[in-house]
């Protein structure tokens, strides 16, 4: 996120020290083979059947009309406030709309989902609009004109995510209000249009933010039983419950590939290449962004399918059945990549929020709030946290993949069969560390 970080935040993180990257990558390698050699041989995870039931009161409170209405009213009020800044605020980086859109929404959704679970479904403004309109017309919001075809799966969300990261990381006009207006306008049109055709289920498969939130929420300690009862759950078992659908591999490829591209795009090597090339910079960046996404998708698909003893149909279903295991790597790398930005630009945005129209207002009394650059001022602590995030992500990913492998791979091939995937994961993790080192 080059321009935004510049415009409001100033600089970006120092590269992590070389030895940190080496230690992190070595840990990843050791962890991977230790799991392969010593971990359990029969699947332990039970997905959505696992977890300790929380008292009935908790579920009743969370699902009560009062709670839901209050949370939704707050969310809608905030969305309205954002819309005012977006539509009537000044087209300057002092407009809080940029920070709200690129930092609170895109980056903030990850820690929020990690802590609270799948909250975006509850607060999504478009879901609310759809719900409101359906109620007004006396229609069932879940019912559309036709059923959402199974083959479509998460593909719409993957396309939406790609368009978002392109706007954020490639499009030169990403810090003009008009770009965000157009993107959000199309987003609203496609989501609301689709929800009329397919019912509210469309949001769960096409809203990039909802899909991101639902994936990350799978690593939260909260989940639900089929009955709706809220349970406390081992995040790895929670992740195990993610249903393997079409397009899931595309979603994880876009998420991981684009974050890696963001690091790569800031490296001197790439900046020098783009500036000395006669080819248009936007075109080059677009190609390389798509290239990163494609490499992740291809390496992952090939690695998961590289196992013998399975028929063609079974084998082709393997990538999506392992896709959940990459989510921790994505979250770990996301944390390493965006931590400073979320913390520091997040504070700046909180200050700017008091003056949405650039008229010297102080609506929330935050306008004169000082910004703490704690992370920037402690580069060693920051680098340690980043590497730790990446390594923990790798550990959780390797364990998830192992448990899935011993459950679904043919007998006798459980360990050999997961080897390629393990190597690809080490490649993702060390590649991520290398980018943190060189950017």
């Amino acid at each position: 996120m080059r321009i935004l970080a510049h415009g409001v935040g100033g600089g970006r993180d120092l590269p992590i020290p070389f030895e940190y990257a080496v230690v992190g990558a070595s840990w990843a390698l050791v962890i991977s083979f230790a799991i392969l050699a010593f971990a359990w041989r029969a699947s332990r995870f039970r997905g959505d059947e696992s977890g300790i039931e929380l008292p009935e009161r908790v579920t009743a409170f969370v699902d009560s009309v009062v709670t839901r209405t209050a949370v939704r009213a707050l969310a809608l009020a905030f969305a309205g406030y954002f819309a005012v800044a977006l539509l009537f605020g000044p087209d300057l980086l002092t407009n809080p709309a940029f920070g709200v859109f690129y930092i609170y929404l895109w980056v903030g959704i990850v820690p929020a989902s990690l802590l609270l679970g799948h909250f975006w479904r509850l607060v999504s403004p478009l879901r609310l609009v759809h719900l409101g309109l359906s109620r007004l017309m006396g229609l069932d919001p879940t019912a559309g004109l036709v059923c959402l075809p199974r083959w479509l799966g998460y593909w719409p969300a993957a396309a939406g995510l790609l368009s978002f990261v392109w706007l954020e990381l490639v499009y030169p006009g990403s810090t003009y209000l008009s770009s965000i207006r157009v993107w959000l306008g199309l987003y609203a049109l496609i989501l609301l249009g689709g929800s009329v055709v397919y019912g509210s289920r469309w949001f769960a498969r096409a809203d990039p933010f909802e899909v991101l939130s639902s994936l990350v929420a799978r690593l939260s300690p909260f989940g639900r039983r089929k009955s709706g009862r809220i349970v406390l759950r081992n995040p790895l078992e929670n992740l195990d419950g993610l249903s393997p659908e079409a397009g899931l591999v595309a979603v994880i490829s876009v998420l991981f590939g684009s974050t890696a591209f963001d690091s790569f795009g800031e490296s001197p090597t790439w900046v020098q290449f783009v500036q000395s090339s006669s080819v248009d910079a936007t075109l080059l960046d677009t190609l390389v962004l798509c290239g990163f996404v494609a490499v992740v998708g291809l390496t992952f698909s090939v690695a998961t399918m590289a196992v013998g003893g399975l028929g063609h149909v079974e084998r082709r279903r393997l990538p999506r059945r392992f896709a959940h295991s990459v989510v921790p790597i994505i979250v770990g790398y996301f944390a390493a990549h965006y931590l400073t930005l979320l913390f520091e630009v997040g504070q700046q945005t909180a200050a700017l929020l008091s003056d949405p129209l650039g008229r010297g207002w102080n609506v929330f009394g935050t306008a004169d709030m000082g910004v703490t650059y704690f992370l920037t001022l402690h580069p060693t602590a920051l680098a340690t946290t980043k590497v730790a995030g990446v390594v923990v992500g790798h550990l959780l990913a390797a364990v998830s993949a192992h448990d899935r492998a011993v459950r679904i791979l043919p007998r006798g091939r459980e360990l050999v069969g997961q080897l390629p995937l393990l190597l690809v994961m080490v490649f993702y993790t060390s590649g991520g560390l290398y980018l943190l080192l060189s950017a």
Partner: protein, 155 residues
């Protein structure tokens, strides 16, 4: 069941220790390397005014050591250096000596922002500033849209 888990943990621990051990052994050496390369790797397109760079590394501790000088040339819509990395210490002044054939504006996206109006057809324009927070900051030509250098500010 118990034994494998325990030895699993032992292997992890041992491996981790071995690796961290290596890491910290090398630390002194690789830090020195990093210091060295900050000097050695200076891109050739960029000449330095002060050439006692070797000693600079040692004197980095006292903030505001000798200024890091960067010669910038803007000619026919191209800038040299272009997108290169320069390493300085916190508080060490950065001094750009600019020759340009076009009007432009240099922005250093730091907190606070530093900017400089580049005049056309004038040699040896001086833009000096100091960065006080560790991080990587880009000095960018506003009109041309190119990054001149990214400045790595080390604590």
């Amino acid at each position: 069941m118990r034994l494998p888990t325990r030895s699993f943990a032992a292997v992890l621990l041992a491996a981790g220790l071995a690796i961290t051990g290596c890491g910290s052994d090398d630390e002194g050496a690789s830090n020195a390397d990093a210091g060295q390369s900050a000097v050695d790797d200076e891109p050739s397109g960029q000449e330095h005014g002060s050439h006692e760079d070797g000693d600079d590394t040692g004197g980095d501790d006292d903030a505001g050591g000798a200024a890091q000088e960067i010669e910038v040339e803007i000619e026919h819509g191209r800038v040299t250096p272009s997108g290169e990395r320069v390493t300085v210490s916190v508080g060490q002044p950065v001094r750009m000596v600019i020759d340009s054939d076009a009007v432009d504006e240099i922005h250093v996206h730091a907190q606070p922002e530093h900017s400089f109006d580049v005049q056309a057809g004038k040699d040896d324009q001086i833009f000096e500033f100091t960065l006080e927070t560790p991080g990587v900051y880009e000095a960018e030509l506003h009109e041309l849209g190119d990054v001149i250098v990214s400045i790595e500010v080390r604590p």
